[in-house]
């Protein structure tokens, strides 16, 4: 599903976010991307979703080489990936339902199909009753669930999640993690970037540990 070969990412000012990364994630696998803040977790997710391009190396996603993709092909790759952004990136002047139908409109779904599928996704994350609310009226946990609904509404085969439990209390965090667990059980490849020990302990999966842009592979809970 995801393959990285000798991937490095340097930002202007010679800031090296990732260094010679080699990594394989199989289809249907769920992995935790762990490490301190600034370890390169978000950068790795951005490279996999082609939001940024690597400075060196090759990235394959769903059999497509991201580094060889034409600019015009990138949107189509992103449509096959569900992304939950760390900063949520919600449309705050549009209601919950509009936020969730957006990816479907982008994919060319008709209005009726988009509505039906968006409501199904909202139902899945327990937000159906809030479909007419504005995101500002939602709690932190509800906003995170809204982001998840938007990420899954296109039925992606790959879900990239960046710090899903940041600023959430333990009960909300548990509910969110349980959601990802259910997606994984349904066959979706899930990559969760987190430095939340609770998440790591509650989700006993393969861990990909990053430290200063370098990869340290191991499984099991970690303490920082």
């Amino acid at each position: 599903m995801i393959s990285l070969k000798q991937v490095s990412k340097r930002y202007p000012g010679n800031l090296e976010a990732l260094r010679d990364l080699n990594l394989d994630i199989s289809t249907g696998e769920a992995v935790l991307l762990t490490g301190r803040s600034g370890a390169g977790k978000t950068t790795l997710l951005k490279l996999v979703s082609a939001i940024e391009m690597p400075s060196a190396g090759e990235i394959m996603v769903n059999g497509q080489s991201i580094t060889r993709l034409r600019r015009s092909q990138i949107p189509y790759l992103r449509r096959s990936i569900g992304i939950v952004f760390q900063d949520q990136k919600l449309l705050f002047d549009s209601d919950v339902l509009t936020n969730v139908t957006l990816p479907l409109h982008i994919c060319g779904q008709s209005r009726s199909v988009a509505m039906k599928r968006a409501r199904a996704a909202l139902d899945r994350v327990g937000l159906l009753e809030r479909e007419r609310s504005l995101p500002v009226a939602l709690s932190g946990g509800e906003r995170q669930r809204l982001c998840i609904a938007r990420a899954i509404v296109n039925r992606p085969s790959l879900l990239l999640v960046d710090e899903p439990t940041a600023n959430l209390d333990p009960d909300y965090a548990k509910a969110i993690i349980d959601l990802f667990r259910s997606f994984h059980q349904a066959g979706v490849t899930v990559v969760i970037a987190t430095h939340d020990i609770e998440v790591i302990n509650r989700f006993p999966l393969r861990q990909i540990h990053l430290d200063q842009g370098r990869l340290l592979n191991h499984t099991g809970p970690t303490t920082y």
Partner: protein, 299 residues
């Protein structure tokens, strides 16, 4: 295909909704652009009316032969005979000086003034239509008639008709130039409005791009916006000019009556309305392309 149509339909209504939800700014923008479009459209109307007048003149080219004031009936008979023999003459009509005076009195409304004159100042005249009314033929005819006895002068309305034609041709080029410049102005206004809209919706556009929107998808509602604003501007221009025509034609008609003619500015023909609306829509659409291509590239 149905999805594609459905998407465009959805975008169209969404864009129309955005326009309606901001009525003041929409109205102000289309008023500015509509009044801008009034200038070339108004000039077109004027030119179109002059063109019709020119057409009327060209259909009935007439040469008027004025006799000397002191010419007598035998002089008139002689000219009558010459005209009868001339194979180039299609038909002609003799207008006696008394009839001319009567006609002038009726048309000008200065009966009292004319009645006070000691004698009729108008000459007898022949109004002639030629079989072949090319400028060369008319010039040849005119020169030969001037040599006839008791003929004072020969007047041909083609002289000012030719001037009018030249003026119309010049005006046409001027209108094309003005239209292009003002269509460009409309495009720039719309482009700038859209650039500001993109700036205010930057967050939404960024999110859309991150979740897989193509540049075409992002651009689409703005293109509709530009075309709709252009179309509305065209409608405003049409409406303003129709009102102006209604007001000004009363004055023009009264003025032209003083000169014994009926001249009014003609309204837009259906094809001219179609061209105005299509042109303003295209100008808006082009403005949207300029506005989006620059602004979206930087997101």
């Amino acid at each position: 295909m149905l999805n594609w149509i459905s998407q465009h339909w959805h975008t169209f209504w969404q864009t129309l909704g955005r326009l309606v939800r901001a009525p003041i700014s929409t109205l102000l923008a289309i008023l500015v652009m509509g009044t801008t479009l009034c200038l070339p459209a108004g000039l077109y109307l004027m030119l179109h009316s002059l063109n019709r007048l020119q057409g009327v003149i060209h259909e009935n080219p007439q040469v008027t032969i004025f006799m000397k004031i002191l010419s007598n009936s035998s002089d008139i008979q002689q000219v009558n005979g010459l005209l009868n023999q001339d194979t180039e003459v299609k038909d002609y009509k003799f207008i006696p000086k008394n009839e001319a005076l009567k006609s002038l009195a009726q048309r000008s409304g200065i009966t009292d003034l004319l009645a006070g004159l000691p004698s009729n100042p108008l000459p007898d005249a022949f109004v002639v239509r030629l079989k072949n009314s090319t400028p060369e033929n008319i010039a040849y005819f005119k020169n030969s008639v001037l040599n006839w006895p008791s003929v004072d002068s020969v007047q041909y309305d083609a002289i000012w008709a030719q001037r009018l034609a030249a003026l119309i041709s010049l005006g046409r080029n001027f209108i094309i130039l003005i239209s292009v410049l003002l269509a460009f102005t409309v495009s720039v206004i719309i482009g700038n409005t859209i650039r500001l809209q993109i700036a205010s919706r930057q967050a939404e556009i960024e999110v859309s791009i991150l979740i897989g929107a193509t540049r075409r998808f992002i651009r689409r509602p703005f293109l509709y916006f530009g075309a709709l604003q252009g179309l509305a501007s065209g409608l405003i221009a049409w409406g303003i000019l129709q009102l102006c025509l209604m007001a000004i034609n009363v004055k023009i008609s009264a003025f032209s009556n003083l000169y014994g003619s009926i001249f009014i500015l003609h309204s837009f023909s259906p094809s001219a309305i179609a061209v105005l609306l299509a042109g303003s829509s295209v100008a808006g659409w082009l403005g949207a392309i300029f506005g989006t291509s620059y602004a979206i590239k930087n997101i």
